[in-house]
Amino acid sequence: MTSAPTPPVTTTAGALVDGDDTPLAQRRLSRLEKRAIATKGKLTSPWASGLAIIMAILWTIPSIGLLVTSFRPALDIRRSGWWTVFGDMFTGDAEFTMENYETALFGQSTNLASSFVNTFVVTIPCVVIPITLALLAAYAFAWIDFRGRNVLFVAVFALQVVPLQVALVPLLSDYVSWGVNGSFWTVWFSHSIFALPLAIFLLHNFMKDIPASLIEAARVDGAGHVQIFFRVLFPLLVPAIAAFGTFQFLWVWNDLLVGLTFLDPAYRPLTVAVAEMAGTRGGQWHLLTAGAFISMVVPLVVFLLLQRFFVRGLLAGSVKG
């Protein structure tokens, strides 16, 4: 993180995490670290463990309620609280069903299956395009000398704090005049742009951390910028790309504002569809809970599989929006 102009919100968050996430298993433990682990073992107190677990469970109860409810028959949901199923399971009265999910996914009026497809179609280009553009720009800012480089970089960096609300109305009138309003092209374009400041900034920091001697050596061997970028830098940047990619994937997946503003109802993503269900069928909890869970299942899987990248990306990108 060398040439960051001012102490920015994101660098510090990024740096804090970077310090922490070298996996212990990958390098040999020094004596000090072994001692630290040993003392830690002595220091864990049963009180702290108990308190930590209780709080973690309290934190999870609301989500459990949603998950349990989504599998209960609609009539039961209206009649009794979800916590009663735990008692009913002993007496054998608890009933579970997949019907809520079937109705939510394939029902005539809800049709979340099509929203699920839309969310994928929205999200994938919105990850690929900004990462590619940002990688190239970050390379230019880090390793190509040109006039006005620092001024431009500071400008890009500063754009991170611009709330995307300021861009929505003018962009929408552009899309209308181009005749693409309501189509997927609008969100691909918008999300890609909104992602760039953060992406360029993060990837630039990672690129700057690569030793200059490596690039010099490649240059001496006669490699041009394009070759250096693809042969030398790209392989080293895979973790950074994964971190930002995970962040961006989830950001777009979970976004409501951009999808709501630009997309035609026929192409509405899950978040928009579920938010709409909450507005028009506030009392139909069997559909709402199933719908909400359908919209959450992919982020949860990503979270479980890519926890390390995910946490790093989320922390680094948390001011976005």
Binding site: T6, P7, V9, L16, D20, A48, S49, L51, A52, A56, W59, I61, G65, L66, T69, S80, G81, W82, S114, V117, V121, I124, P125, T132, L133, L136, A137, I144, D145, R147, R149, V161, V162, P163, Q165, V166, A167, L168, P170, S183, F184, F189, I193, F194, L196, H225, V226, W253, N254, L256, L257, T271, V274, A278, G279, A292, F293, L300, F303, V311
Partner: protein
């Protein structure tokens, strides 16, 4: 764009949707590849051409899609609702003087103050506790999960917690919170309707989400405190709360500032939660929600632009505080 086949702008089936997605990605990749190939072939290319090929596309995108619209929005904020007539600061005056918008501003202020303070406090306490607990990874993961899901999903989870049933003998509460009230012998409440406390119940949702962020950053900072400092403090007889107050908190000051300001910015822009839980009714609206309503429901371009600009202006003091505090803590060292 009439010359394009229909499915490019208006795909109907799932297959067409994925095809147009594929086309978009391939188109993008081909353009970028041609660009890079073009500058890589000739032996002597001037430096600025290479720089333009690498940085140019991103700069053009940003200039066209972010800077230009932002400037336009600033201009629109001085125009009337249709964008025809110059009205000076009228939109801003309206936003600050009508009682409806004053409520919106007060609500936003409450969000910006309450969410970061409470979430950071809980996150800090939890980070300290979990540091000495046995199931550290597992507990941390559970607290962090709300960060992974959408705010729409989180809002639905909590709407269900707050669900209200009329207080009648044979009606059972289905919302957990009201059931707890009933178990305690109290009468159930309409949490999302009763003013002014409903804003507080919306804020709880954001705190629930952001605590995981605060906890993760602060926990990393706590682990980075050098062992010898802790050892020295222990030899001086510090322990428990004293250690927390005089060693832990001062050592992680920069991290605390980053967490506070980051969450404050997120809270300032809150939209999804308010829209999903109350739709901004019952006196819960905030600036970002009002922006959406004015821009796309009321079609008041002037006022909505003023609100968007206001959001941007309100970010600046938070960033300034962040930069200022971080400078200070660097001077101390």
């Amino acid at each position: 764009m009439d010359w394009l086949p229909d499915w490019i702008t208006a795909p109907g089936t799932t297959g067409e949707k994925f095809s147009v997605m594929f086309v978009a990605i391939v188109l993008f990749v081909v353009i970028m590849a041609v660009l890079l190939f073009a500058i890589d072939r000739p032996k002597r290319v001037p430096g600025w051409v290479v720089a333009a090929a690498f940085a140019g596309p991103a700069i053009i995108f940003l200039g066209y899609g972010l800077v230009r619209p932002a400037l336009l929005t600033v201009w629109y904020s001085f125009l009337d609702r249709r964008g025809n007539e110059f009205v000076g600061l009228d939109n801003y005056v309206h936003a600050f003087t009508t009682s409806q918008f004053q409520q919106v501003l007060v609500n936003t202020a409450i969000w910006v103050l309450a969410v970061p303070v409470v979430a950071t406090l809980i996150g800090l306490v939890y980070a300290v506790i979990v540091d000495r607990s046995r199931f550290e990874r597992f507990s941390k993961a559970l607290i962090f999960v709300p960060m992974a899901i959408s705010m729409v999903g989180a809002s639905i989870i909590w709407r269900f917690v707050y669900e209200f049933r009329p207080d009648q003998p044979n009606v059972q509460q289905t919302g957990l919170l009201n059931q707890v009230l009933v178990w305690l012998g109290l009468s159930p409440q309409q949490f999302l309707i009763g003013q002014p406390w409903n804003t507080a119940f919306l804020i709880v949702v954001m705190i629930w989400i952001q605590t995981g962020f605060a906890m993760t950053v602060l926990s990393a900072a706590i682990k980075a405190i050098p062992d010898d400092i802790i050892e020295a403090a222990r030899l001086d007889g510090l322990s428990g709360l004293g250690m927390f107050r005089y060693i832990t908190v001062p050592s992680i000051r920069p991290a605390l500032i980053v967490v506070l300001t980051t969450i404050a910015i997120v809270a300032l822009k809150v939209f999804d939660i308010v829209r999903t839980m109350t739709g901004g009714q019952f006196g819960t609206s905030v600036v970002a929600n009002e922006f959406y309503t004015q821009a796309f429901r009321q079609n008041n371009q002037g006022l909505s632009s003023a609100l968007a600009v206001l959001l941007f202006i309100l970010v600046i003091p938070i960033i300034a505080y962040n930069v200022n505090q971080l400078r200070k803590s660097e001077e101390v060292r």
